[in-house]
């Protein structure tokens, strides 16, 4: 005998199936990368601070691993040290950004639930500027950063 499922359970299962379909449909299709118009490939030394809400010093490595036109992708690995208690946390995430204008570097580092938006100016092999992350139900965290290209 086939047991009839309650309407509520069927509705939930249907909703889950719909969500799964939508997620699968949301998988991105990629194009071929364009010839690079920027020269950011390689490893960069990252130093920075978080000034709000809690003070932290940031240090790590930015690795630019792919370029397509003016866009670039890579990865940022950071060690954040709490200024008040010295506790350390590791942050790592995907980086994607672009060069805008002649000297403006704009990238997101997906280190937490919401990305850390970095906007800086490149001068020679150094990029510096502010960063902001708008986390849910809290004021934005923000700070400054400085990135220097490592010697090859």
């Amino acid at each position: 005998m086939i047991r009839k499922q309650p309407v509520r359970v069927r509705a939930i299962l249907g909703l889950c199936a719909l969500a799964t379909t939508a997620l699968l449909a949301g998988c991105l299709k990629s194009t071929e990368p364009l010839p690079s118009s920027v020269d950011l490939d390689g490893k960069w030394t990252y130093t920075g601070t978080q000034t709000s809400p809690v003070r932290e010093t940031l240090s790590g490595t930015l690795t630019i691993s792919g370029e397509s036109g003016s866009s670039f992708v890579g990865r940022l690995d950071l060690v954040a040290v709490n200024a008040s208690n010295g506790q350390t946390r590791l942050l790592a995430g995907l980086v994607n950004g672009a060069v805008k204008g002649s000297d403006l570097i704009d990238f997101d580092a997906n280190l937490e639930a919401s990305p850390w938006r970095h906007v800086g100016q490149i001068v020679a092999d150094t990029i510096s500027g502010p960063w902001v992350s708008s986390a849910s139900d809290a004021p934005a965290s923000s700070g400054t950063f400085r990135i220097e290209r490592q010697s090859p």
Binding site: V54, R55, V73, S84, N96, G101, D106, Q121, D137, S142
Partner: protein
Amino acid sequence: MMRRATVLRWAFALAAGVCALPPLAKAQSSAFPKSAVPASDLANTVPSDSARDGGTTLPPVTVSGAPRSYQVITVPVPDALASGTDVDVVIVPHGDFVILGARSRKLPAGAGQRKIAVTIGIPAGALAGRLMAAEAHFISTGSPTLVVPIEINVSLVRNIVLTPGKARLSAQAGSDVIVPFEIANFGNAMERIDAKLFLPEGWSVREVKQGAVTISPGETSKRRVRLKVPALSSTGSSFVGVTLVSGADTLASETMTVEVFNSNSIGGQSGPLITTAYSRALDENGNVNQLMTLTANGALYDSVRIDAHAAGGTLLGAAASNSFAHLGSYQSSASLILTAPSAQLSVGNTGTSFSDLTGLYSYGQGALIHAQKSDWSVLALGAYSLPSSTAPDRKPMFGLRAEHQVGIAQISSSISHLADAGPSPRQLDAAGIGAALPSPFGTTFKAEVAERRFDGGSGLGWSSQLVRMSGENSTELRATHAPGGSDAFARATNELVANVSERLTHRASVSASAWSTTDATSVFSGLKSNGFSLRPQYAIHGATTVALEARSYSFDANSRPLAPGSGGAFGNREQQLGVNLSTYLHQYFFNSTAYLGNVTRTVTPLGLATISDRTPRNYWTANAGWSGPGGLVELQTRIEQTRDRAGFVNQQSLFGVRADQVVLPMLSGIRGEGEVQRVSGFGGEKSSIMRAGLAIPLIDGFSVKIDAERNSIFHSIGGSVPWVFGFRLEHAITVPMVRMPGTSGYVFEDLNGNQRRDDGEPGVAGAIVRRGSESAVADESGKYRVGGDSRQAVVIDEASLADGWTANGSARGDLSVTLTTSAAIELRVAARSGIADVQIDLAKAHVIARDSAGREWGAMMSGPTTATFQSLPVGNYTLDFDLSELSEPLVPRTPVPLLIVSGKDSKSITVTLDPRPIRMWNGSGKSGSAPKSDAPVTTKKSGS
């Protein structure tokens, strides 16, 4: 059972005078004389149970029956009887068997009756087995008396009653407890009984072997079982089960409660845990990093807890810091926190928040004290700001906040001077006042105003907040204006926040939040942030929950020029829609979350037009594993992808396995942890984490931890990713408390009733003492130690004392118990003036006994002339009488004897009450004048 039946048979045989003969010989030698008396007389004269003057015994008649029942038995008339004569039948009962109806009857000659019916009552106490119930004597002229035994096979009745001891059972953890109980056999057969014990975990029986006990019907056997209570037993009730079995049959079962007390919970064993550790690790460049740490955590003494941390060493590289974190070693400035119920003192590295307007997130090195009572609290900070590598300057900070309950309102005021250095220094001088008031619908309204002065300006700040907390539901609305913003120790300059969480049904709940903030800092001249989230959640089953979430957040920032020509504006707007499924089964869990979304980024370089682009951002995470006391093992995965304006997809995949605090099989006591994680990025970029660690306990509190990690995040100057090894040797020991908590003393038998412990007055082992919710049990010498509020007196739980003993009230220190007994005061009313009987109802007489300490006991009138003290401790008592409520005043005749209570036996003394004498005058004096003499003249008065 069988033995007793046999004895009865032998007794019967002896009485019959044929005990030495076998049945056949007995039958042959029996010579029952011819009846010379009527049968009825025979029935009356033959004593039951024994007397018989001879006869031939025939095969018995046997039936079955239960105790307390009547059986009708058919007895055949022997064929050997002469048919031509009358036959007298006499039924002779044995023992407690009862014959219903006539015991004798006559069978007329020629009636042809071949059988008779006899009704026999089986006594309640009849033992199980075949018993001789009666005999039927057939007497006929010319024939020997023929005897037909009537046997009843009494059925088995089992009735075993298990009765726990009446005394309350209590024991100290680590000592023994004796569990007494009685086994009574109310059945009708002898029973061989085994007592099976069901003990709490870790308990054991002291006796090597518990033998079976044999109990006859009607007997009672007392048993005492000595049990070992484990030293680690916690204070509370433990249950001991006793089941009586006989073979495979369970006859009775009882559960007894033992109150266990573990004085270690307030004793020396539970002081602070002191952990000393030496850690050593190589960093990514091969440098040696060392760290010594000392921590103390636990109760320092009564209600005061200590949490202290100190560390020193060389910490050079991030990889070593990460390794130390895995090993449980942290380098931070020394700190000490002492916590008591009404105060907390923090010294060293410390920090606090005063209020939204007078300072949040202020940390430094100094002292912080927080004292609180039921209607007020004070928070005070004095410290220097923390230095940093780029800003060694240290700024002084202090702050004070006081709260006071005034009626239904809580009034607060605070003042602060806060500052720190660094790349973006903060500064605030503020003074504020606030209040919190209960509001309708179970909400609380809070408001505060403060004058805020900061670097570059000042302003009046205000904040208001409405909070509702009700079970699983909560609501918060908050609006704040704090001039100076986060550079002046606030969250932001302006803040508007709404959070709601509601449970709709037992399966469904929803949470939502919305916020908007604006701020200005040394980095940003303007920073706006706002967003919302909505998350409905539904529990499909108890352990399976599905949730949907929609969220959107954005910010717009105007950065100050950090360098000439720099600066500009930029912003983000992110929208996401996600679904989450989480479930667990026993110790297995699964959790998965998927989000689809997009990000719109804008940037406006200084002096240029705004550039905007919008890219998708999707990710999916899942983790599944097992979690239990034996550790945690988890599989993790995360796939994340974005796409740039040109359609190029950047995807990163993470797969990992993580084990944490896992007990390693075959290596008892050793726990392991490890992690393997692989991250695949675009263009073949790979990164990985491999880590393994072991925690190995050694002896005497020593243990070792080792950790090895290879993490792509750490690489040497040369670019290589090295293995980073860490090692920690630690020693942990629990030290005694600085001061033993609680109150100690002895519970002793006050044999002479003077309420002081004298020589020879022994302690009372096992006595339970209580103070508030704390309790303790006296040890073998009667010594106790009990925690709780020292302002309260300690009382003895009289249920823990033996019968007849009572506590002499509550006190501190030594507590006396005395043997109490009843005492009767017999009141005898003397004849008036020695000649006239006086009839007075003494029911309203009050007799009071007063001991040497002035304590009083009142007696009850238990009879017309008897006043009884139900329970008087040992001691000497003077007696007082209140006879004012009697119909005629009586006076106790002095000297009133002393009431001396010295033991368990009841005391009785007699006190004579004298009536008022009658005074008469001769009438010669003036009317109304006083008599010349006070000497009374008595006269005989009868009746009234």
